[in-house]
């Protein structure tokens, strides 16, 4: 009924042969393909490829054996409230009369803690530099590089970073500090509590250096 007969001009009287309707062998696959792309989009959006990463941590077992760290090689970092970091090289000067004491203040920025640690760790960095260049020139396989790097970090004269935390320390700052150790190639570090002397000297520092 709705068909418009375009063929056959005026000669409508001709007898038309009845033919069996030939069905096309092609099916319309559009809906299937639509569904396919819908599923594809769904799975692409829901899949999380970026699996979380980890920092490995092997804290020492609590024992009576105290590891002695050479004063000249130690760097103590105290993770304070908010984003301040207090640090001192070597042994803490506890005598308040011998001001200024060696407590200093910094933050977690690239020019803060990282610069300090990198400056102190120049020995290990100078050991790592040549092997890094070799690796970049594809002369050193990655596995061997990792081994040599670890060895350099464990060097006898490498610095030892003591990270001190107290009850106010936020976890993010601990991770930041551990991360700096990774970035600066520090292989020797430990996590311990802040002592009373540290608190005293921080108070002393704050008195002498009002913000």
């Amino acid at each position: 009924m709705a068909d418009v007969n375009t063929g056959g001009g005026g000669g409508g009287g001709r007898h038309q042969k009845k033919r069996a309707k030939k069905l096309s062998t092609r099916i319309d696959m559009t809906p299937m393909v639509d569904l396919g792309f819908l599923l594809l989009t769904f799975f692409m959006l829901t899949t999380t490829f970026s699996q979380p990463k980890i920092i490995e941590l092997t804290p020492p077992i609590k024992s009576d054996v105290v590891t002695k760290v050479q004063d000249t090689l130690s760097l103590t970092v105290i993770l304070g409230k908010s984003d301040t970091v207090y640090y001192y090289n070597g042994k803490l000067e506890t005598n308040p009369d011998s001001a200024p004491n060696n407590m200093m203040r910094t933050d977690y920025s690239d020019n803060g803690l990282r610069k300090i640690v990198l400056n102190r760790n120049h020995r290990v960095l100078s050991l790592i530099k040549p092997i890094e260049e070799q690796r970049d020139a594809h002369k050193l396989p990655d596995t061997l590089f990792a081994k040599l790097k670890e060895k350099a970090e464990e060097d006898k004269y490498a610095i030892f970073v003591i990270i001190k935390t107290d009850t106010n320390t936020k976890y993010i700052n601990v991770v930041r500090a551990l991360d700096e150790m990774n970035i600066c190639n520090v292989g020797k570090y430990s996590l311990i509590d802040v002592t009373d002397d540290d608190y005293k000297m921080i108070a002393d520092y704050k008195k002498n250096h009002p913000k």
Binding site: F43, L57, D110, R176
Partner: protein
Amino acid sequence: MPKVKLPRNSPSIDMTPMVDLAFLLVTFFMLTTKFRPEEPVKVVMPYSVSDTKIPENVTTISVDSAGRVFWDMDGKDVRPKVLQAVFTKYKLDKTLTTVDLSRFAVMGTFGVSVSQLKAYIEGDDVLRKQMSNASPGIPMDTLKNNELEDWISSGLAYAQADYADKKAKNENMKPPRFAIKADGRAHYKVIKEVIAICQKLGIQHFDLITSLKSMPKG
């Protein structure tokens, strides 16, 4: 002048290769996607430059920003045994049904005390969410009942037995590991306590789960 005849191209293109590729991708994503149960705890992990991937066969202790502690463990066939062991310790094992055990096997992270756990296992998503929000996390008082310690020690025992068992059968299996997934805003003292509990049980190695950020130049 003769007419210039443009070659007539069919306006429809053959889309078969594209469709083939699309379905290949669908198949790939369907096979690689792993659906995880909904996490009852929102943890914003701090960033680090470490690019070590999270290992398999891992027990995860989550700590949220308020310092509440949650427990989770890989291994569908090990989890029911752990549940049984902990409930036996608290003399609640009579209440456990096989349905509870199989539901617990695929449950994922939880942070309620043992006394609430049966209701939590049997509850639907809405109830579980409510209970998680109201719960102070898994109790880890050092003096009274330290439930976290019980979960970790039972989990460790069964994970190690399972590892030894599968290793003997030459199955591909990774040794059990411990991961701490803590929110950046959580106090470090909570994580320190968790580490102390684990150390007491002889676990010496921890993986702190972080998000990746790029390594600074130099």
